[in-house]
Amino acid sequence: MRELFTEHLIYWLILFLFMLGPYGMIFKKNLVKKLMSMNIMQVAVILFFLALGQKTGGTIPINLPGLIGAEHYINPLPHTLMLTAIVVSLATLGVSLGLLLTVQKRYGTLEEDELLRRMNQ
């Protein structure tokens, strides 16, 4: 039972973050907070991939002379994939912030209920 937590603690953290994302998106009223929650969710997925690549006793995947054999290096592939995912996350963030700026300029508020009220006037 202990192993479930100690060995896989990282996955519990990931699960927590992954749940935190939608919770924030649904229950927080401020649009920026929703955005942040979305980002947290994306981070959770990124951590998941990175956790996959870990090996006990492995070092960073740069070729060290004398250290031969895959078991000495952590898996670099998830890292490269997640570089892409981080860029995607950044781009999404950029687009969303741009949208929010426009909304703020037009409606003057970023609180959801107030925004809906002003939109329907």
Partner: protein
């Protein structure tokens, strides 16, 4: 050049997209020409690639000559080739159409619009031709981000709807990515063909089940499968008329195609948990068809009505997916083609009416048939196809879907399909009545009686008429399409 066709399909729109703002600064006419050329090249390449796939077998194109499973490859088999042809064709047609909307805008707005539009095209095409699941995620996000931008350009209400779409869409993409992560964790591979082989012994494991569900939910959100469709009505209603025909026609279909690819090809419909998962998909798809059709009846805005109709039609594709047999597959793919053409045509009509008269409420469509005869004629064909009247294309999708349902003894689905045809008839005939039979108020009539101009500029009218004709042609010629392309696309080559 010929050997690079699969790459050209995606790269040409991508490059031109990046150059667009710069070109626009110098000359918007050059921009238009360049954009149309990009779309045309993409279309021709897709057709060529499909031809190759039909005659010589699937085309595996290795990027940088790195062989899979380490390198990324593009695979053009009959199914992906067909999707690529469909996407690039509609992209070209709608691009011709957008000319009139963008003419009055400044160079920056035009440049950005073309950039986003071509990025969207490149992203969707990349999704269809890629053979690597992570590459699919990348293109998924490329297309999604461009779509968010395009939708947001439709006004302030559109910006708010686009923001909601960003949130929900990113959740969907994250689910998909997590599912890919699970698959990678179990098999160590990201290449679709390789995954198919490596998953075979593992299909009864829980990890695969979770991966399946995650991918299903993720793509379900993106394709607006009930009940994950909440973002769609607002996004489609407020989106600018220049972009929405393409988005509405194609985006959800490509997402549905991804699910088809996963469930029919990678997982295999008869293995492990797949039949169970598909059964659940079937139930929610059926529910979605009925509920969305009912909601469409309640709408007074033409575009919102079309949006709910889209949710229902995506349900048909989901139903075909869930049947898991050959007729279900044919029905689903054929409906992808049909619905893409139909919905694109209908939104082109909506945009045309808005351009000419500024109206988008159904009750304001009175006597529209007199003002815009060809446009409403195309609408008529689209409406008949949605209801399922032979010999339009929509009828034949239902033909194959019902055959598939009968084969699996799932009579409830037959009832659902029939019922939804009748519900579709209710809300489409309401618009037909309004446009053809009702009289406009006298003040309006004065306006259009003197209007001697042609109903729409040619760049808008030709796409509308061409797509309307396609609805009829695809319907009448559905047999060659099915026998020569779709059957070959079916895993195992069909019968």
């Amino acid at each position: 050049m010929k050997e690079q066709l699969p790459a050209l399909i995606v790269i040409v729109p991508l490059l031109i997209a990046l150059l667009s703002p710069l070109v626009a600064y110098f000359s918007t006419r050059l921009l238009r020409g360049l954009g149309l050329t990009a779309a045309a090249v993409s279309f021709v390449s897709a057709v060529g690639a499909l031809g190759h796939a039909l005659t010589k077998g699937p085309w595996h194109y290795y990027f940088g000559n790195w062989a899979p499973p380490w390198g990324i490859e593009y695979v053009i088999d009959p199914l992906s080739g067909l999707m690529a042809v469909l996407v690039s064709f509609l992209s070209l047609v709608v691009l011709i159409y957008t000319d009139s909307f963008l003419r009055e805008e400044g160079w920056l707005k035009q440049g950005i619009h073309y950039a986003l539009y071509l990025l969207l095209t490149a992203g969707l095409l990349g999704m269809t031709v890629t053979g690597d699941v992570f590459n699919l995620y990348v293109f998924l996000e490329i297309s999604s981000l461009s779509a968010y931008g395009l939708i947001a350009s439709g006004g302030y209400k559109a910006t708010v709807s686009a923001f909601r779409y960003v949130l929900v869409g990113t959740v969907g993409a994250s689910f998909y990515l997590l599912g890919v992560g699970y698959l990678y964790a179990i098999t160590g591979s990201l290449n679709m063909a390789d995954l198919t082989v490596r998953l075979q012994p593992l299909l009864d494991s829980q990890a695969v089940l979770i991966a399946m569900v995650l991918i299903l939910v993720g793509m379900g959100i993106k394709m607006a499968l009930f009940p994950l469709h909440g973002w769609l009505p607002d996004a489609y209603t407020y989106s600018p008329p220049a972009a929405i025909p393409f988005i509405a026609g194609v985006m959800t279909k490509v997402m549905a195609y991804v699910l088809l690819r996963y469930f029919f090809f990678i997982f295999g419909v008869l293995n492990g948990f797949v039949p169970l998962v598909l059964e659940v998909v079937g139930w929610i798809a059926a529910l979605g068809i009925i509920l969305a059709s009912v909601m469409a009846i309640a709408q007074s805005d033409f575009r919102r009505m079309l949006a709910f109709s889209s949710v229902a039609q995506v349900g048909y594709i989901g139903l075909g997916l869930s049947l898991g047999n050959m007729f279900g597959f044919i029905g689903a793919v054929f409906h992808i083609i049909n619905h893409a053409i139909m919905k694109c045509c209908l939104f082109l009509v909506a945009g045309g009416v808005k351009w000419k008269t500024g109206e988008h409420l159904i009750e304001k469509y009175a006597e529209m048939s007199r003002r815009m005869p060809l446009t409403m004629g195309a609408f008529l064909l689209g409406a008949f196809s949605m209801v399922g009247i032979p010999p339009t294309a929509g009828f034949f999708s239902k033909w194959y879907l019902i055959l598939g349902a009968i084969e699996k003894d799932l009579w409830i689905y037959v009832v659902v399909i029939i019922l939804s045809s009748l519900l579709n008839a209710i809300y489409f005939f309401r618009v037909i009545e309004q446009a053809y039979l009702k009289k406009a108020p006298v003040a309006e009539r004065e306006k259009f009686v003197e209007d001697k101009k042609p109903e729409l500029p040619a760049t808008m009218l030709v796409p509308i008429v061409v797509l309307g004709a396609c609805i009829l042609v695809v319907g009448i010629l559905n047999e060659p399409l099915v026998s020569n392309i779709l059957l070959m696309a079916f895993p195992g080559g069909g019968l």
